[in-house]
């Protein structure tokens, strides 16, 4: 379980020297295996919150605990997936996926097997020897997801992962992510500003308001799984949730 205990973040604005509070006493528990989205307007600090959970930036006060232990920086238990893909451009698809395994001291055969498994999982076996600049955005994000899953983190930290993709590719990747999640049941912390995306994917949605960033609502998404896009989008409950959360976002602007 990931526990956020009064996590606050403030920083000094370059130039004026003013102190800006980005996050104010965020408290939440994220259950193991849950798919939790954090939605909020641009600049509400939702990505900052994710980076704190990742250990990439420190909180000004408060603490993040994983399974009862405070985090000390990043670790392979929490695997990030960024909007910018952040692939290693000098490595092929295969070697990107393999990159994190070098640290795990796996036997050669085991690493190969795991890379192949990941290539199949994200349907990229045909493209294994291409370099990132030869890939479309959707393919790049598949590689990034596979690269992170390869080292088997217990939690995926996804920072607007589909934000840079076109609508069709986004929908395809949402479905693939759901399939992977149904299979692997990892904890997912998913940052997005797309309310429909959050409702479609999540068990639970934390709605944030900005300036300073705070959790404004904590909503359980009581929609059945496995979720089938065509059915779900027609469900009144789905539409209600999208509208309700959309209103909250409008008010917090």
């Amino acid at each position: 379980m990931i526990r956020l205990d009064h996590v606050s973040k403030s920083y000094t604005r370059a130039g004026s020297g003013d102190t800006v509070q980005a996050l104010s006493a965020i408290t939440a528990d994220i259950a193991d295996g849950a798919f939790v989205s954090i939605v909020g307007p641009s600049g509400c600090g939702k990505s900052t919150l994710l980076y704190i959970v990742g250990g990439f930036i420190p909180a000004t006060s408060g603490a993040v605990q994983v399974d009862g232990r405070p985090i000390a920086g990043p670790g392979p238990d929490r695997g990030p997936v960024f909007q910018e893909f952040a692939l290693f451009p000098w490595k092929t698809v295969r070697d990107n996926i393999r990159f994190g395994l070098a640290q795990q001291k796996l036997p050669q055969g085991e690493a190969d097997r795991r890379v192949d498994e990941m290539l199949d999982l994200v349907h990229l076996r045909k493209y294994a020897d291409l370099y990132p600049k030869e890939l479309s955005g959707g393919m790049k994000q598949r590689v990034a997801i596979a690269r992170t899953l390869a080292y088997r983190p217990t939690t995926l930290l996804m920072d607007e992962p589909f934000g840079a993709l076109d609508a069709h590719t986004r929908a395809v990747l949402q479905d693939e992510l759901l399939q992977i999640w149904e299979r692997e049941r990892k904890t997912v912390l998913f940052i997005t500003h797309g309310v429909d995306e959050a409702v479609y994917l999540s068990d639970r949605i934390l709605v944030m308001s900005g300036a300073p960033g705070a959790i404004k609502a904590d909503i359980a998404v009581d929609l059945p799984r496995p979720r089938l896009r065509d059915q779900l989008l027609r469900t009144p409950r789905y539409q209600e949730l999208v509208i309700e959360i959309g209103h909250m976002m409008d008010q917090s602007r």
């Binding site: 392979p76 929490r78 960024f82 290693f88 640290q103």
Partner: protein, 254 residues
Amino acid sequence: MTRLGPVLVLLALLAIWQLGAMALQADYLPTPIAVLPDLRAMLIDGDIWRDMAASLTRLAAGFAIGLAAGVPLGIVCGRSTAVRGCVNPLLALFYPVPKAALIPILMLWFGAGDLSKILIITLTVTLPIVYHAQQGAAAVEEKLLWSARAMGFSPAAILWRVVLPAALPELLLGVRVGIVIGLIVMISSEMIVRQNGLGYDIFNAMDMAQYTLTYAVIVIVGVLGYVLDSGFEALRRRLTFWAPQRQAMVAASS
């Protein structure tokens, strides 16, 4: 047409040289056609190759030391504001100094031999290497570093596995600048500390009033520079084929 352009410009320059030399009729400006026999003789009799080898050996030795010192220093500077704060003022102070002016001092310290000439090349090429390695290392996308940290790599492993390759395109631009200005100090050092090498050949021929020979060596130096630069550029493209190409800016300062 674009491929033909440089050739046409070169031919035009040679034509101007030929016509100008024919009009002037001076010893100190032989025509390119008059230079050809010397050029041919030199390339065949082999002396020039021995001198070229001596020059290139020093260039290579100077470069090897420059890379060994400059790349780690530049990479660490790019990632550490503390180190950068110490190194950059020195860099800014030292970069514009014409390195050939330091040759007398190096001669005093290390004698009038190969060592001085190698060290002056090292001093010259290290600066652009440090500068560009630093630029490249400082510009590494933060999320690449975060991705590697999440995988559990140590800071040293990240420098080696992520920062160095990510900085490579920029770093190699620095190496290219180093080749151009390294060649310049290679020749000037051989003119000042006369022993052997291409710079020595130029001055030696001039001292003996063998003007066609002087021009022949200069042509060889020019061709050598072109071959080294375009050869390295080809290598650089091969090594960084994965990166988005950008225009290489080679600013020679020496």
